[in-house]
Symmetry: C2
C-alpha cells in the first residue's frame, strides 16, 4: 500500500510527468482536485475508485487518504500543479506519516513558470530578472501579503490568485510604492486551449481583465515586456516569411 501525492501540472494534460501518468494508469483509487484535467482522470483504470475532491475540507481529504491507504490500495492523490508549491501536500503527507501509511511525493510542473510561459513570458531573463518571488493572493491562505516588502523586491513577482482579489493586490503594491508603470500580466487558464492573457502597466492591469476567468495568475516585472517583445518578434518574422 502506498499513497502517491502526484502533481498533475498546470492544466494541459500533456504536462503531467511520465511517472505521474504511469501511476494514474495503474492506480486502484484516484482522489483528484477540481482543477485537474478530465483527460487525466480518464486515464485511470476502468475499475479504479474515482473520488473528486469537490466539497471535501482539507481534514476530510487527509482522513480519506489515510483510510484508502490503510485498506492496502494503491492510491493516487492527483493535485493541480505541484503538491509542495501552495498545494498543501505537506499537510497530507503529515496525516499519512502519522497514520503509518507509506507515501511518496511525485512533483509536478507548477503553474509558477508554465502559466507565464504560455503567454511567452520567461520568469528570469539575462540582464532583466535574476530573482523570482512567489506568493498566494487567495484569501483562503489566511496570510496577509507584506506589500511593503514585496514592493521593494527586485526581479519577477508571481501571485497565484482568484481574479476577485486582483484589485486589492494591485492597490496594495501601488500604495507601498511599486512603480505604477511596471509591466504586468494576468494569465487565465494558462496552458489550456481556452487560455487568455492581458498585459499592461501595473496601474491599469486590474481594468483589463474583463472576460477573464479564474484560475488566474498575476506576473509583475520587466519580464512581461520581454514576453511582449518575444511575441512581437515572432509574429513579425512569421509575417515576413508568409
Amino acid at each position: 500500500m502506498t499513497v502517491w501525492l502526484v502533481g498533475a501540472g498546470p492544466g494541459d494534460p500533456g504536462l503531467i510527468t511520465a511517472k505521474g501518468l504511469e501511476l494514474v494508469r495503474s492506480c486502484e483509487a484516484l482522489v483528484y482536485d477540481v482543477l485537474v484535467a478530465p483527460e487525466l482522470v480518464a486515464e485511470a483504470p476502468d475499475d479504479a475508485l474515482l473520488i473528486p475532491r469537490a466539497k471535501l475540507k482539507q481534514a476530510e481529504i487527509d482522513k480519506l487518504l489515510v483510510e484508502l491507504g490503510s485498506r492496502g490500495l494503491e492510491v493516487v492523490r492527483l493535485k493541480g500543479g505541484d503538491p509542495f508549491v501552495f498545494g498543501r501536500g505537506g499537510e497530507e503527507a503529515f496525516a499519512l506519516a502519522e497514520a503509518g501509511v507509506p507515501f511518496e511525493v511525485v512533483p509536478g510542473v507548477s503553474a509558477l513558470s508554465a502559466v507565464p510561459a504560455s503567454a511567452a513570458i520567461p520568469l528570469t531573463h539575462r540582464g532583466v530578472s535574476a530573482q523570482v518571488t512567489l506568493v498566494s493572493g487567495h484569501s483562503a491562505s489566511g496570510e496577509e501579503l507584506d506589500y511593503e516588502h514585496l514592493a521593494k523586491t527586485p526581479g519577477t513577482l508571481v501571485v497565484f490568485m482568484g481574479l476577485t482579489h486582483l484589485p486589492e493586490i494591485v492597490a496594495g503594491l501601488l500604495a507601498a510604492g511599486k512603480d505604477r508603470h511596471t509591466p504586468a500580466a494576468v494569465v487565465s487558464n494558462g496552458t489550456r486551449p481556452d487560455g487568455q492573457s492581458v498585459t499592461g502597466t501595473l496601474a491599469e492591469i486590474a481594468s483589463l481583465v474583463d472576460g477573464l476567468v479564474s484560475p488566474a495568475l498575476l506576473v509583475v516585472g520587466d519580464v512581461v515586456a520581454v514576453g511582449e517583445q518575444l511575441a512581437a518578434v515572432a509574429a513579425d518574422a512569421r509575417a515576413l516569411l508568409a
Copy 2:
C-alpha cells in the same frame, strides 16, 4: 519545422512531462544539456542527430538551433529543469524568433520544488511559509545577490548554485542579519538515485557538505524543519508498524 524548447525536469528521468517525452521520441535532432539524464537521450529515435551541448557557448547553441530549425528538422532542445526558470530559454526563443524559425516552449518540472521535495521539504506550508524566493548563486549569472534584501525576506529562500559558492552565499546572508539559527538544507543531485542532503542551521550548513557534489540547491527557512519533522514522523510510524 519547429524547434521545441523542452524542460527535462530536475534529474529523475521519470519527471519529464508526457508531452516532452513524446517529442523526444519523435524528434529528428536532439540538442541536450550535460545535466540531462542519459535515459532521456536514449529515448530519441535511432536515426536522430544527437548533439550534446558540452562546451558550446550560448551564442553557438542559439546559432545551432536556428540552423537545425531552418533545415526543416523537428528539433528538440532538451534543457535541465524548466527552460524559463534560470534556463536561458528566453535567449534561445529570441534567436529563433528573429530568424523566423517557429518554436514552442514545453515547460518542465523545475528543481525549485522537486529537489527540496526529494528531501521531504515542502516549499510552502500552512502557518510556516507562504512565500517562496528563488535566486541563482552561480557566479555565471553575472548578478550580485542583494543580501540586505534577501536577509529580510519572509518565507522560503531557494538558491540554485554550485557548491563552491555556498560559503560566500551563507556569509552574505549572515552579514546582512539573517538569523544564524534559521534552518537550512543543501540537496545534492536531488531526485536522482545518488541524491544526498544535509540539514543544519544557516551558520553551520556550509561546514556540513563534505562529500556532496554539484549540482546542489540551498533551502533556507522554517520549511526545512517541517521536512525534518515529516521525515522523523514517517520513520517513527514505520518503526512502530514493523
